[in-house]
């Protein structure tokens, strides 16, 4: 047995209610889903020694449900589940693009959308797509249920508005029509790579005028970010070269990429600006 298993436990509840009770009653107990992030931390000796509550297998957290005004995705839905959903393919194609771009088949079979959010990596692939779709998170604890806009969920690097004992149970996406979507991830190789820059956009045009839009990026700040200044520079405007240049200036002042082992700040800025231009050229 590896030494880092000492002090770690994994308990399997029979129901969501039991899981929430376990998470509430055991000080520091933490949720565990598909394991694609946490098992890497375990093997590196970085997993905090505590009791983990095994959510994998809780049917209450699976499934993709349709209502007249929203689609609700169980947080335990895997990338494979997302890729297989015709409903998501039709209305939220960027989520499928993001799921396809995340890891290989084995990772997609185990990685969950809730885990991707809660792992809170600024380089995660699904969060930019969730931001452009105005996602809302449903959070559950033994105390009850609350909903928060995803745009306010990540507060700083690896920090989020998740109370102890609380889990992400569902992701709610409002339905809308007439928007055009764009997603592109730039990484060191095309398969199974962590992004240098990830760009998601959605735009609603009326002729050449931008009625509304969403722009979100990964790997350019301590959290995934929605680029509000870029949106403000474009909303209500007619897309011409002058406005595109203004949007690019807004982007360059708004995002704060860093130099790290995956890329440089300068490269990330340039790629992000190029992706913004590509997004806008596709919208016309």
């Amino acid at each position: 047995m590896s030494t880092w298993l000492e002090g770690v436990d994994l308990v399997t509840p029979a129901s969501l209610d039991e899981a929430l009770t376990l998470l509430a009653s055991k000080h520091g107990a933490r949720p565990f889903a598909g394991g694609t992030d946490l098992m890497v931390q375990l093997e590196a000796g970085h997993l905090p020694p505590t009791r983990y509550v095994n959510l994998w297998g809780l049917r209450e957290l699976r499934g993709i449900l349709e209502s007249p005004d929203a689609i609700t995705i169980g947080a335990l839905s895997t990338y494979t589940d997302i890729r297989a959903s015709e409903l998501l393919a039709r209305e939220y194609p960027l989520l499928l693009r993001a799921a396809e771009e995340t890891g290989g088949v084995a990772t997609q079979n185990r990685g969950t959308i809730g885990g991707n959010i809660a792992n809170a990596s600024p380089a995660a692939d699904t969060p930019p797509a969730l931001l452009v779709y105005d996602a809302e998170l449903e959070l559950r604890s033994s105390a009850g249920i609350r909903r928060v806009p995803y745009a306010t969920f990540h507060t700083a690097y690896k920090q989020m508005t998740l109370a102890p004992g609380e889990i992400i149970s569902h992701i709610r996406l409002p339905r809308r029509a007439g928007w055009r979507d764009y997603y592109r991830k730039v990484g060191p190789r095309r398969a199974q790579a962590i992004s240098k820059v990830c760009f998601a956009g959605a735009i609603w045009m009326s002729g050449t005028t931008v009625r509304d839009l969403r722009v979100a990026l990964g790997s350019v700040a301590p959290t995934v970010v929605r680029a509000m200044e870029v949106e403000n520079a474009l909303r209500g405007r007619s897309v011409d070269e002058e406005i595109v240049a203004a949007a690019e200036r807004a982007l360059r002042s708004e995002i704060k990429p860093i130099d790290d082992f995956r890329s440089t700040a300068e490269y990330r800025l340039r790629v992000a600006a190029n992706l913004l231009r590509e997004f806008l050229s596709h919208s016309r």
């Binding site: 047995m1 590896s2 298993l5 770690v8 436990d9 994994l10 308990v11 399997t12 565990f32 598909g34 394991g35 694609t36 098992m39 890497v40 375990l42 093997e43 590196a44 983990y52 095994n54 994998w56 494979t80 890891g103 290989g104 088949v105 084995a106 990772t107 079979n109 185990r110 398969a191 199974q192």
Partner: protein, 157 residues
């Protein structure tokens, strides 16, 4: 924890820490050393097994997730002395070099052919994207998988 599962068609009872890596339990407790550890962090696919019919990296799968599961490792792919058509094609087309990535490659290919009997080359590449080969033998691996598809189609025709 002690749990029961079915490994390569055999019902077994195994005992390990619930957070132990399935990879280690298969190799040490079940004696199935065909499953290899490459990177140990889900990047290389050498430790791939089929868990309840899904390809997973056993280095990222906690033992507790094997409870009452059906697991197929590389040892369960051949039928006795008869190799699986994917294994035959790997042998004949030079799909295996040093052999460390081969169990995972074969399982990923078998998984693909279960889901997509007539894959395009692009689909083969996507299905094996999570498996790294450091002998730089990808072309022969892709050819092996495509040959296995042809043989499967011919045998079904």
């Amino acid at each position: 924890m002690r749990l029961s599962c079915t490994v390569n068609g055999r019902r077994v009872s195994l005992d390990a820490h619930p957070m132990a890596r399935l990879l280690d339990v298969l190799r040490r407790e079940a004696g199935l050393t065909g499953t290899k550890e490459g990177c140990g962090e889900g990047e290389c696919g050498a430790c791939a097994v089929l868990l309840n019919g899904q390809l997973v990296n056993s280095c990222l799968t906690p033992f507790a997730h094997a409870d009452e599961a059906t697991i197929i490792t590389i040892e369960g792919i051949a039928s006795g002395d008869d190799l699986h058509v994917v294994q035959e094609a790997f042998l004949e087309y030079g799909g295996a070099q040093c052999g460390i990535c081969t169990p995972g490659m074969v399982l990923a290919a078998v998984d693909l052919l279960e889901r997509t009997p007539h894959p395009t080359e692009a689909e083969v590449r996507a299905a094996l994207a999570g498996n790294l080969c450091r002998c730089t033998g990808y072309m022969r691996i892709f050819e092996s998988v495509l040959e296995a598809c042809r043989r499967l189609s011919a045998s079904r025709a």
